[in-house]
């Protein structure tokens, strides 16, 4: 038995159209009352003047490295990072060791996630061993509880496999989440191809590598009436293709990572491997295109692609460093700073990108702030100015290009599964 009264917070819920300053009484994991001057015997009072409560945020793209690479992250540490970043749910990618390509690994992920405040949902591999050669037992995976299919980290480029996988995923009413990359154009690349790669002499990945695969995939999606989700969209070309496909009525969604609407490949001049991720940081024109895509709905979700790596793995020569950065604990700050304050999105729109839409894409239950609903809440301070300190991350890994950056807007914590986690 536990109950809390969250006092004087602004409640914002795009689904129920809520935007009001009220008290919220939560008893045993359920929103009992929303009102003014609430009181309840035995309830702990949490003063949230000037703070905001929104439906629990959901990051549909994280790498928790368990099983197999627990020195980078595990489900417990990743979930702690998620809670600190304001997320009550995450979908973890199947590029583990072994990969999530059979029901037993799915059960393992759920078992590890049991009892946590953060809901951890597995995404199943599209192909056996993520090799791109033959599709995984997708029906079994669906029955075991995966919320989507992806070979993330690798593309599915065998067109017959792609077609079969799209047909299977659609039959199971789950999205096929593609890591769009052409292996030949990508080969050996370390950064975006641009004047910067030309000056730095680093092997480059052209935008064409993403554009060409997205264009092809959308043809397949149309042909088989598939359900397609583009992971970590990063180029003007991909955004244009997705926009056109949506206009045609295709079942297509997409996500953008905070680093792709914040940083350009100019930051690679430092040769700091924390600027190395896949897809790579692109040009200022692409950054703007990602913001436009978020504004006009071409991009449905903000997803971090949280990719932890140990310091000794990242602190090497740029070309040898692994791709990826951690993102869970900076996503809210970057979204507020880059999108809300710059008026690309309103607050309800931002919450749609961070909660409503990713849950809808993964066929997760809708979260609402209303009496009688399960309490699944994120607490935000939209005005807090803070400096990113990687050492303070809950994640096991500290690989971020945002260390030292001053952001506005910060998550205070979450309430989910009857557990309150308040960081500040």
């Amino acid at each position: 038995m536990s109950s809390y009264i969250f006092k004087n917070a602004t409640l914002v819920d795009p689904v129920s159209g809520l935007d009001t300053q009220k008290d919220l009484l939560v008893v045993d994991g359920v929103i009992e009352r929303i009102g003014e001057q609430l009181s309840s015997a035995g309830a702990e009072i949490i003063a949230l003047d000037g703070k905001t409560i929104v439906p629990g945020l959901c990051d549909m793209h994280v790498h928790f490295r368990e099983p197999g690479q627990e020195h980078k992250e595990d489900i417990a540490s990743g979930s702690a990072a998620a809670a600190a970043g304001g997320f009550t749910a995450v979908a973890c990618m199947p590029n583990t060791d072994p990969p999530i390509d059979n029901a037993s690994v799915v059960s393992f992920i759920f078992k590890k996630g049991q009892g946590l405040a953060v809901d951890v949902y597995p995404i199943g591999a599209i192909t056996k061993g993520r090799k791109g050669e033959s599709i995984s037992p997708m029906i079994e995976l669906r029955e075991a509880g995966v919320v989507g299919f992806s070979d993330d980290g690798s593309p599915v480029n065998n067109t017959k496999v792609l077609r079969t996988a799209l047909e299977y995923a659609s039959m199971l009413d789950l999205p096929l989440i593609q890591h769009a990359e052409d292996p030949h154009l990508f080969a050996g690349g370390a950064m975006n191809e641009s004047i910067v790669s030309t000056e730095l002499g680093l092997p480059a990945i052209p935008r064409l590598s993403e554009d060409a695969v997205v264009a092809r995939d959308l043809m397949f999606t149309e042909y088989v009436n598939g359900c397609y989700h583009l992971a970590h969209m990063s180029t003007i070309g991909a955004a244009e293709a997705v926009r056109a496909a949506k206009a045609k009525g295709l079942r297509v969604t997409s996500e953008v990572a905070p680093h792709h609407f914040t940083l350009t490949d100019d930051t690679v001049r430092s040769y700091d491997s924390n600027t190395k991720m896949n897809p790579p940081l692109r040009t200022a024109d692409d950054v703007r295109a990602m913001k436009e895509a978020l504004r006009d709905g071409t991009a449905d979700a903000i997803a971090t692609d949280h990719a932890p790596h140990a310091g000794f793995e990242k602190e090497v020569e740029y070309v040898y460093a692994p791709f990826g950065i951690v993102g869970l604990e900076t996503a809210v700050g970057l979204s507020v700073t880059e999108l809300l304050l710059e008026k690309w999105l309103t607050l309800p729109q931002l919450i749609e990108k961070l909660s409503t839409n990713p849950r809808r894409i993964l066929r997760l239950p809708e979260i609402r702030i209303a009496e009688g609903q399960r309490a699944n809440l994120s607490f935000l301070d939209l005005e807090a100015q803070w400096t990113v300190d990687a050492a303070a991350f809950r994640s096991k890994s500290k690989n971020t290009p945002f260390h030292g950056r001053v952001l506005t807007g910060r998550a205070l914590g979450i309430y989910n599964n009857g557990q309150l986690i308040l960081q500040r």
Partner: protein
């Protein structure tokens, strides 16, 4: 002599003109030393230099080593094949170990672009880049500029064309930066597949026809076509490359003008350059090698004696 504004020589990208002029001017002093019967001065006596070569090199390493010994430095050679790199040690660990041995100057070559900058930011030694991936090879560009200047007196307004695989060439990048800073007009020529993306934005003209390029040029710098590269990915065959872009005596004679021909070596005779050109009157390839030792002495001296 005045002193350099830069603590390390990582590349020519951000090196100001007065530093380039200082290096080029200092080279004459060291060329004079190389002509003496006893080619040794005590300038770097008591200083330790390590030649940290993670990538094979014969001529650059020998050139640096000669320069170091002629300045009386204590010299240690480290090459990847004899090192702990093969045992899986990271670059940072290797560097920290070398650092702990109290080395003053590190001359470094590595296959990864940016790796010299990476180490220079994590160690207290002075660093000289002897080639990092396809990024920069500043002493090669400096020796090229000295060699050109010996023939022309100045680099200002000179038309210089770099010919070959520009995309994978650190020599090209360093030459482009250095020559532009010194006021030369820079062009490149090669198959379109070997011209890196958006290169024009660096202030460089791009030719894909060799005769147009030669028409433009007072000086050409002919890059080695790396035979070990996978022919077929970037160009169809060495034979076709030679026919379309190879520098031949016939092509040069047909121009009816002076031409200075450089090549950073080693030469693939009959591929990017004909023997008759390499060994002929247009060529300054052997003076480049001599100047290479002198310019490395100049850079070692200027970096090694620079006040902290």
């Amino acid at each position: 002599m005045s002193s350099l504004s830069i603590p390390h020589l990582l590349g020519l990208h951000d090196v100001p003109k007065q530093d380039l002029e200082l290096i080029l001017d200092s080279t004459d002093t060291f060329l004079e030393i190389l002509d003496r019967p006893i080619k040794k001065v005590p300038t770097l006596q008591g200083k330790t230099v390590v030649n940290l070569f993670f990538e094979n090199s014969t001529r650059t390493r020998i050139s640096f080593e000669l320069a170091e010994r002629r300045l009386s430095a204590d010299v240690v050679n480290f090459s990847a094949s004899t090192s702990s790199v093969k045992k899986g040690e990271t670059l940072l660990d290797t560097a920290r170990n070398i650092e702990a041995m109290k080395v003053d100057i590190v001359v470094m070559r590595h296959a990864a672009a940016g790796s010299v900058k990476f180490l220079s930011e994590r160690c207290t030694s002075r660093f000289l880049n002897a080639g990092d991936g396809a990024h920069e090879h500043p002493t090669q560009a400096l020796l090229d500029m000295v060699t050109i200047r010996q023939k022309t007196g100045s680099l200002e307004g000179l038309n210089v064309c770099i010919i070959g695989d520009i995309a994978h060439s650190r020599v090209a990048r360093s030459n482009i930066y250095g020559l532009l800073t010194m006021g030369a007009n820079v062009a490149v020529c090669g198959p379109a597949s070997m011209i890196p993306y958006d290169l024009e934005r660096m202030g460089v003209r791009v030719f894909t026809n060799i005769d147009d390029a030669l028409d433009f040029s007072d000086v050409i710098n002919v890059l080695r076509i790396q035979l070990e590269r996978d022919a077929g990915a970037d160009f169809p065959s060495l034979r076709e490359y030679h026919n379309a872009f190879g520098i031949t005596r016939r092509r040069l004679d047909a121009l009816g003008k002076d031409m200075i021909v450089l090549h950073p070596g080693p030469i693939n005779r009959g591929v990017e350059i004909e023997s008759e050109v390499a060994d002929g009157p247009y060529s300054v390839i052997l003076p480049q090698v001599t100047n290479g030792v002198a310019i490395r002495m100049a850079v070692l001296y200027l970096i090694g004696t620079r006040a902290e």
